[in-house]
Amino acid sequence: MGAYLTRRVLLMGLTLLGMSVLIFVMLRLVPGDIADILVDSAGIVDVDEKARIVKELGLDKPLFEQYLHWLGGLFQGDLGFAYVSERPALEEIAPRIPVSAKLALLALIYSVILGVPLGVISAVRQNTGLDYMLRVVSLSGLSLPSFWLALLILMASVQWFGVIPIYTNEPRSLVDEILLLSIPAAAVGFRSSALIMRLTRSSMLEVLRQDYIRTARSKGASQTSVNYEHALRNALLPVVTIIGIEAAFLIGGLIVTETVFNIPGVARFLVEAILWRDYPIVQNLVMLIAFITVVVNFLVDMAYMALDPRIKYAD
């Protein structure tokens, strides 16, 4: 186990190193850099002014030197200076991370606490009215784009209650914050919960037809015990995998939701930074997302062992 963990950690390091090269190169393949944009945003095309900005930001240095400079800084906790705001990138990114993290976590909690139990109910009550209704709900969750759902929520809220649940002021307490983020989190989590529900349902249906379930029933185990102790635990493996993948994908959903609900999180900030070719911000944020994805995948792999004792990671 120890050697396996060491191997995984090394692999994670290599993956992140590869990602850093990919992010760095791909960003520079996109047409236009910050100097183009700064000059274009002022509606002028002055070659001298552009050259001065390029020099000032160090964009005239060889790419390899720029890459090493960034990577070196990263290891020392120096993320560089944001091009647009001219402030340390860390100061720009750090306050936004908790906002998005709370939103993503809340969305994930929503999707799990809704998706898993409803999936189980749908499977256990297969082909009943309840099952059909839940399947329609899950299909709508998959087919409704989150920006559309978010706008519908805002419009309904203004129309019926005369208020708009958007982020305009910093919440004063944790309860305030949870209340404020719960509606956007529901908008983001709805799609994931639908996916988790459908997967839980199909996985449960498969498990419920296994011999050992029949054996458990014939031994007189209660329906609840069969469903939740015997079937669900085994049906959860693919569900946990999808939860892991969804956790990484949530960032995509957050971009739209943060924009519509006006939440000052990292996802919206990342899009803005990409549009401005603000390399220090984009590079560091994408690396952060890559890091989270790698870690979540690692945790999912570890969770397999806890869920299914037959799984062992050999040295």
Binding site: P31, D36, A42, G43, I44, V158, T168, T259, R268
Partner: protein, 533 residues
């Protein structure tokens, strides 16, 4: 008894006269929606209303357009940091007497040296520290004629011009022309500027908000009335409008409410005050005259004749946009051509069928027709306000056998593409900081301007632009302006399609708002606004 009645009447009259002043209430935070992230807080470095609105209240100018007036014009310029000004006999020296009671937000005294270093930076003079104040200078051409700034005393500064230029004062009155603090570096000016204005910057959080607080030591005693302003950056227009309707915001971003949206706003917030005004932003056709077949003046003439402006206005603004040449048309515009003069210009005549027939005949003479169309790419910035008119343009060009295909260009490289002449024809939007021929013509059509994107160059037009700039008499100047307009239209030099009109709305308790109708850039000091709550 009679004197007693007279005294009472006098007292009542005095109260009645004093009422407007007493009505202004002190206090409250104005919540204003902002559509996007300003590129920076440095007004001199940017060419967008996104920077002007939140940061104009931080600064003062030497002079300004009277904020109580609805129109900017040279005769409506009032003192700001300058107490008064005078021209030399030959009209090449403009001397300002400055206020002595003004302090920067950090407590340091304002002086003539600050004026000198601001304008030295704009004309590229001074040492490295001065040059560092401004990293990019989009309105460099405004100050081409400004040769030197001399400090007579801490309260006196003189601008020396190369030739008489009455419009300089109008440019100094623009929201784009604040006076910067000499002791502050460029980076600070771009992120958390220090000014002399009615409001001080508390924070500029990118993607989130800009917070300003009342300057307690503002030199205009008793002003501003607001305790502060919060600009909430809400990039999604639906969210912005819904937020305003729900009462979350007190005022919309300037011209943010399109005419189709206006009906929704009025339905859902019937008490909202909404005002339509021309933005002095015009859509125009750009033609790459260096590339075949558009190097042929005949084909450019056909393109100009093919533009039918009314459908653009009907589709995009429910018929509210304005038809004019380069200068904003009357009554909003001070310098625009009269309708009867305008109708004589190519493409502006009322008989559009005749215009199109003429354009078709030109195209046929060049070998094009229904069976042999001219295939072109119509480039435009990949933003809805650019794409929408470009699509209508493509449709109209079909009538003259031009088969256009939309070429949406990433917004970040739009001007670079245009400058590199990497397009055939295109659609562009151009805003004017001041409704003034010097601003419009020097910036967009003079061969020396860095903002003359299409590289249009006509020595005769250049000469006329300089000539009109030196004329003091308005009527005389207007004659030359009309002559330039005609030449530009005939040359197909960025022919104007329409002048945009937009709506701005605010809650009924927001008082003292005056929107100026010939520029969106000059009336955002916020010092006269108060909340009647």
């Amino acid at each position: 008894m009679r004197s007693c009645v007279a005294l009472m009447a006098g007292t009542l009259a005095a109260f009645a006269l004093a009422t407007p002043a007493l009505a202004q209430k002190q206090g409250g935070i104005l919540k204003f929606t902002h559509r996007d992230n300003p590129p920076s807080a440095s007004i001199h470095e940017e060419a967008t209303i996104s920077t002007v609105i939140p940061f104009m209240p931080v600064f003062n100018n030497l002079v300004m357009f009277d904020p109580k007036e609805k129109f900017n014009s040279p005769d409506k310029i009032v003192p700001d940091l300058a107490e008064n000004w005078s021209w030399s006999a030959d009209k090449t020296k403009l001397t300002f007497k400055l206020r002595s009671d003004v302090k920067w937000h950090d407590g340091k005294p304002f002086s003539a040296n600050d004026v000198k270093c601001t304008f030295d930076a704009l004309i590229g003079q001074g040492d490295e520290k001065v040059k560092d104040l401004i990293r990019k200078n989009p309105r460099k051409v405004w100050y081409d004629n400004l040769k030197e700034i001399t400090v007579g005393s801490p309260t006196e500064v003189t601008f020396t011009l190369g030739r008489p230029q009455p419009s300089l004062l109008s440019m100094l009155a623009s929201g784009y022309t604040p006076v910067y603090a000499c002791h502050v570096d460029g980076r600070t000016l771009r992120s958390k500027p220090i000014g002399t204005g009615p409001f001080m910057v508390v924070e500029f959080k990118r993607n989130e908000s800009i917070k300003l607080t009342r300057n307690p030591n503002y030199w205009k005693k008793g002003q501003p009335y607001l305790d502060g302003i919060e600009f909430k950056i809400v990039p999604n227009r639906s969210t912005r409008v819904l937020g305003f309707v729900a009462g979350e915001f007190d005022m919309t971003f300037d011209s943010d409410i399109t005419f189709p949206l206006l009906k929704d706003v009025k339905d859902q917030a019937p008490h909202a005050v909404c005002e339509a005004r021309p933005t002095n932003v015009r859509s125009n056709l750009i033609v790459n005259r260096d590339r075949e077949p558009f190097d042929n003046p005949k084909i450019r003439e056909a393109l100009v004749l093919a533009i039918d402006r009314k459908p653009f206005s009907d589709i995009l603004a429910q018929g509210n946009d304005l038809i004019g040449a380069a200068m904003l048309p009357a009554p909003a515009g001070v310098w625009g051509m009269k309708p009867e003069e305008l109708s004589k210009l190519p493409g502006f005549g009322p008989d559009t069928a005749k215009n199109i027939a003429e354009a078709q005949s030109i195209m046929k003479s060049l070998g094009y027709g229904p069976d042999k169309t001219l295939k072109v790419k119509v480039a435009t910035r990949n933003i809805a306000i650019y794409r929408d008119p470009a699509v209508i343009l493509i449709d109209q060009l079909k009538k003259i056998y031009v088969d256009g295909e939309l070429d949406p260009i990433d917004t970040t490289v739009w001007f670079t593409r245009v400058q590199q002449k990497n397009y055939q024809i295109g659609l562009n939007l151009t805003g004017a900081g001041v409704d003034d021929p010097d601003v419009m013509f020097f910036e967009n059509f003079h061969s020396s301007s860095s903002r003359n994107y299409t590289g249009y160059s006509n020595p005769e037009v250049d000469k006329l632009i300089v000539q009109q700039s030196s004329i003091e008499d308005k009527a005389e100047r207007m004659k030359v302006v009309a002559q330039i307009e005609e030449m530009l239209t005939r040359d197909a030099a960025r022919p104007t399609i329409l002048h945009g009109v937009g709506n701005t709305c605010w809650q009924p308790f927001v008082k003292g708002v005056v929107l100026q109708h010939n520029s969106i850039y000059n009336s955002w000091r916020f010092e006269n606004i108060w909340l009647e709550k």
